[in-house]
Symmetry: C2
């Protein structure tokens, strides 16, 4: 078999980029010819982590079927979040921590999902199960992923298993997780210089809910006005996206990483249903979701149920 | 949360019944209130194994949403093979060794699939990972599942990991795997006294392939004439099933467990395409698939690809 490509989701976040690097490294140690690649641009937070631990960004790919017949997915499984031609290749393995949807294979595979806060937490177990030591710089990347996915250990997705993994990885990497983590989050949270297109594509994921296409994007910031000061232009852009992609809902969650609330810009035919699901009023296309920081655990399940009705 | 129900697929085979018992036992040891149940009748082979190791059959259920809000699936994931109301309950975990298809959740879950020959082989690992000892009688059931799924270690689905697990489990159970295994297979292979309905429902699984509904049933025998002597009545019955359930294909694989070939009765609009995929002629609705004993590894992938065209 040709080289196996290992990659996370489109619009990759720190977990998707670093899980690809960390799992490709493990598979290489186990004798597989594996290469970490990425399906999109590296964001500022991830760039900070890669530089800190001395890594180049993985190679950017758009399609995968042309160069391999075997792939490993990390940090995602839904086909619309994966490579455009994912249905044309054999999926050998998945390591993930999300719900399972719009995913199927013709053959049995290795699928390891756990309801934890970060793919890195599962990879930490897989290194142990395979008796492979985690190099200090790879441990640093894995720690970065846990910090990113948990907003420095504060998200409700953060479990005791993530805590244990973070402590072990910080020890191996030799960094102070709190100090390094805040610096990394801040590096990714300066939105003032982002173009509108960059903003909405930083971390946008598409879902299918109740037969409708839904996009939920999320940005982290220390000042939501970096985004809201451009609300009118954002709406113009997103209404066009909704029309072009025939979306029933576009939700942009602007998450304040200091107070852990999210302000959501909600557009599309399902916007009232969406806000109804959270019992909050939608005013001027905006709503405030107090204490909500996790798309996966606090937004996707609520919307999935509401739109199924 | 109410009691968690653990079950395998409809038309349960030995792996589905015993995996439910073995995994429910493990979860109980870990503090979960779990009960093994089953979605269909216990076949003769499984009954032999249960009696040998001193177990009652798990409780029969049809629907699950009425009595629990959390379930664990073993040995399957495709919804059409699961409880009729599977979409109405929360799937907490899946432990399986099949392809993934027609499966989705709203929330993250624990999903453990490995491309091995038997669920019991994965359960053997999970007992170790959780530091729980396998009781001798549970080990006997798990060994029975590996023998059943591998046709006494001869199926191409049988991997080195299954071999290792079978050896460990035989040791714990204190049985001679070859001797016990042949007796168990023979107990399940006497088809002469089965009614037609029993025959076709012993191990029938439904799939969706290329937008068409397909049923692939399999029976093991030491004399294929126990089945073929009733071919005309079988066809009458299966044509009615095809019409009622709007199937594109019904394939009944009659597997000779002594010479490891399967004779297939193939009916439905896709029957020519199905036999074309195997490069064998279809004569009088019958074809012989030499060396083919595994639905999962040797039949489903071939048909999935052929019907997708």
């Amino acid at each position: 078999m040709s080289k196996v490509l290992v990659f996370g989701h489109k619009n990759p976040d720190t977990d998707s980029i670093t899980a690809a690097i960390a799992y490709a490294h493990l598979k290489q140690q186990l004798g597989m010819e594996a290469e970490a690649v990425r399906l999109g641009e590296v964001n500022d937070e991830t760039a900070y982590a890669l530089e800190k631990f001395g890594f180049e960004a993985p190679r950017l790919v758009k399609n995968v079927a042309g160069e391999t017949d075997g792939v490993i997915l990390v940090d995602h499984n839904e086909f619309q979040q994966s490579a455009d031609d994912i249905a044309d290749v054999k999926i050998l393995e998945v390591v993930d921590h999300h719900r399972i949807a719009n995913f199927e294979t013709a053959d049995p595979l290795y699928y390891r999902a756990e309801p934890v806060g970060c793919t890195a937490t599962i990879l930490n177990k897989l290194y142990k199960e395979n008796d492979v030591e985690i190099p200090a710089n790879v441990a640093g990347l894995m720690l970065s992923a846990i910090i990113s996915d948990s907003l420095l250990f504060k998200s409700p997705t953060f479990t005791g298993e993530d805590r244990k993994a973070a402590d072990e990885l910080a020890e191996i990497a030799g960094v102070d997780a709190e100090e390094y983590g805040l610096a990394m989050l801040k590096a990714g949270a300066d939105l003032s210089k982002k173009t509108l297109e960059e903003l909405v594509n930083m971390d946008a994921k598409e879902f299918e809910m109740g037969g409708k296409k839904v996009v939920i994007a999320q940005v982290n910031t220390v000042d939501i006005n970096d985004v809201l000061s451009r609300k009118k232009e954002l709406e113009d852009l997103l209404y066009r996206v909704i029309a072009e992609r025939e979306l029933g809902l576009y939700m942009l969650a602007i998450t304040d990483i200091l107070n852990n609330d999210s302000t959501v810009l909600v557009l599309g035919s399902e916007s009232q249903a969406a806000c109804g699901a959270f019992n909050v009023p939608l005013e001027d296309n905006l709503a405030v979701l107090k204490g909500i920081v996790s798309r996966k655990k606090q937004i996707v399940p609520v919307l999935t149920e509401a739109l199924a009705k």
